[in-house]
Every structure is written in structure tokens, then in C-alpha cells.
């Protein structure tokens, strides 16, 4: 049987690639260290497959057919379409179509109705962590897109339920493989709205505390009350909730947190504690 051996969270921002050469040295050093720390943890966990949970930044999907949840079942996934990521080293990325289809059918049999994609581009949200973690070899990827950009979005509760569903699917997958969950997004930031550039450190630190503690009810109630005030980019924390559910809400260890005004994002990096069921 397959099992979830690790789960990680990392923030992303296009400017972590586009403006990399002009970022102040301290920010660059600390970002590099945080991503690399996750990369070392990931390598040590030796996953065969990464289930990566991230938003699509209008790269694949448009409002003519906008999924709230979409599972990528392709044999491969194209690298990031953003010109500033043209040097992304893993292009195309290998998918894990059997596991992905198993997650899809498990979802449909358990009252979830994701969209499915046989061919996706993975944009900076998916690829910046993968690139900056500097993995020697990239495991196969099952991308799962959670709509975190366009209202209305899946409820916070449902994001947690999605995490549990992913765990259930992995644990009922017959092949004996190791799966890591990686979630990309958050913490506080604002894009294209009047608060653009504002980072809400108070929100970010309280949010991290709520994830660290692990317990679902206070985490959900904290987010219910505060997420909407932390900028539209903070909605990406929905992806963290999915990973939290997949890790069975056992809390996590912070790797690092620091606001990076130059990329507009409160950047958080963490490793979940993995409950073995």
C-alpha cells in the first residue's frame, strides 16, 4: 500500500524568479536557505511521487471553465509558461497517471467532483518551490489545483476534507510507494487590489501558530475570521489546509517565516508532522 511519508508548505511569488537577480542579498539568502532546507527534508523522505497542491494563476484555466478543484492525470506536465521561468530545469515533468486516476476515482466515489486534466502546464506556483528546493532528481508529480484566485472558492472546511480524501486515496492505492505532499502558496499578500504590497505579519504569525497547534476547529475559526483581511493572496492558505488534512492535522514544524516586501509576500516554510494511521 502507498503511504504519505511527508508534507511540506512553501510560499511562492513570481518575483522570486523574475526579480531574483535584483532582490536584496539578505532576502535572497534567507529564501534560498528556506527552500533548500525543505529540499533536504524532501530528499531524505525519498518520495516516489509528490502530490503538489497549488493554485493555477490563470495559466491553464479561465472563467469559461474554471475548476474549483482539478486533478492532473497526465503522463507528463509542461513546465511553467511564464517567460521568466524559461530556465526551469525539469521540463516536462513526469506525472503519476495511475495514482492520479486513483485519487480522481476515489474522489468521485466519495462525494467529491473535481475536474480532471490530462494535460497541464504547471506555473510558478507549482514550479518555484520545485526549482528552489534544488532536488537532485524530481519525483513524479500529481498536481492538484485548488481555486484560490477567483471568488467564490471551495470552503475552508472542504479544503481540509480534500486533504483527508487525498490521504484516503493514497492509503488505498495498491502499489507500495512513498508519497510526499507539497503545498505552495500564502501567506499574507495582495495582488492587484488596493492593499497590494501590504504584508500582514500579525496574521501570518497567528496563522502559523494555528497550523502548529494542529487542532482543526480553532484553525478553521481563526481563518474564518481573519483570512479575508490578509489580502487576496492569503486565500492560497486554502492549499495549506489541504496538506493539513492530508497530514491528519497533527500540526507542523516551522522551517522559517519572514516577510519579503520586495516580492510582496509573507513567506512561510514548514514541515507537517505525519501521523501514521
Amino acid at each position: 500500500m502507498a503511504r504519505i511519508v511527508a508534507a511540506y508548505a512553501a510560499s511562492h511569488a513570481p518575483l522570486v524568479a523574475r526579480d531574483w537577480l535584483i532582490l536584496p542579498e539578505p532576502a535572497k539568502t534567507r529564501l534560498t536557505a528556506a527552500y533548500r532546507a525543505l529540499g533536504r527534508l524532501m530528499s531524505a523522505a525519498r518520495p516516489d511521487v509528490i502530490v503538489e497542491i497549488a493554485p493555477d494563476h490563470w495559466s491553464n484555466f479561465f472563467i469559461n471553465n474554471l475548476p474549483n478543484v482539478c486533478i492532473g492525470v497526465g503522463e507528463t506536465h509542461d513546465g511553467p509558461p511564464e517567460p521568466f521561468l524559461k530556465d526551469f530545469p525539469h521540463n516536462p515533468m513526469l506525472g503519476a497517471p495511475e495514482l492520479a486516476m486513483h485519487i480522481l476515482t476515489t474522489a468521485l466515489n466519495n462525494d467529491f467532483e473535481p475536474s480532471v486534466s490530462h494535460h497541464m502546464k504547471l506555473d510558478h506556483g507549482f514550479c518555484i518551490p520545485l526549482m528552489r528546493m534544488e532536488l537532485a532528481e524530481l519525483p513524479r508529480i500529481v498536481p492538484i489545483v485548488i481555486n484560490s484566485l477567483e471568488e467564490p472558492m471551495p470552503s475552508l472546511n472542504r479544503c481540509l476534507a480534500w486533504g483527508k480524501l487525498i490521504r484516503k486515496a493514497v492509503e488505498s492505492y495498491p502499489e507500495d510507494i512513498q508519497v510526499a505532499v507539497l503545498t505552495s502558496g500564502g501567506l499574507s499578500h495582495s495582488i492587484g487590489e488596493p492593499t497590494m504590497g501590504v504584508i500582514d505579519e500579525d496574521f501570518d504569525r497567528s496563522c502559523i501558530k494555528a497550523f502548529e497547534r494542529g487542532t482543526e476547529a480553532p484553525l478553521l475559526s481563526f481563518l474564518q475570521s481573519n483570512l479575508a483581511k490578509a489580502g487576496n493572496g492569503a486565500q492560497e492558505v486554502r492549499n495549506w489546509l489541504v496538506a493539513h488534512g492530508a497530514a491528519q492535522s497533527s500540526g507542523f514544524t516551522l522551517v522559517d517565516y519572514f516577510p519579503v516586501p520586495e516580492v510582496y509576500v509573507g513567506c512561510g516554510f514548514a514541515e507537517w508532522k505525519i501521523a501514521q494511521s
Binding site: H57, W58, F62, I63, L149, I191, G192, P194, M196, N232
Partner: protein
């Protein structure tokens, strides 16, 4: 916010570098292909951040103004002006 489909479609399409180049060279010709309402078209021609911000997703808005070459500083200043205006309206 009311989503304007065709404005959003314009923003979305302009993520393609080729489309951006064409748009910078001849905005009017590209706009012909989108069924924009009169006032929306005018807001596009005038680079009216405030008006357009009410009609599409903020990420798409940001992509768009980046694509047409507006610097982040100017874009953010115009976004702040919206907030200040609506503050003023509320409190004024």
C-alpha cells in the same frame, strides 16, 4: 465586482508574449476582436485602473497592466487611489 467576460478574456489572452507584442503595436486592432461595451472599451483605452478593477479578477488586472508596461509603483499608486477615493466617499 461584476465580472466582465470579454474584458477578462482580453486580459487572459494577453498573457501570451505574441499577443502582448501585437497589442502594444496596435491596441485598436486587437480590441476589435473583443465584444467590449462602450464604456469598458473607453476605460481600456484610458488605462483606467480604477474602472477596470471593478470588472475583472485582480490577478488578471495586474497581469494586464504589467503586460502594457505600467511599472508596479505606478500601478500600486493607482490602486491606493481607489481605496482613498472610496474611503473619502464613505466618510465624506
Amino acid at each position: 465586482m461584476t465580472t466582465d467576460y470579454w474584458l477578462s478574456k482580453l486580459f487572459w489572452d494577453l498573457q501570451q508574449p505574441a499577443a502582448q507584442a501585437e497589442y502594444r503595436a496596435d491596441r485598436v486592432a486587437v480590441l476589435e476582436r473583443y465584444q467590449l461595451k462602450q464604456d469598458v472599451r473607453a476605460a481600456v483605452m484610458a488605462d483606467d485602473v480604477a474602472a477596470l478593477s471593478r470588472l475583472s479578477n485582480p490577478y488578471l488586472l495586474r497581469f494586464y497592466f504589467f503586460a502594457v508596461g505600467m511599472k508596479d509603483d505606478e500601478f500600486i499608486a493607482k490602486l491606493r487611489a481607489i481605496a482613498n477615493t472610496s474611503q473619502a466617499e464613505k466618510h465624506g
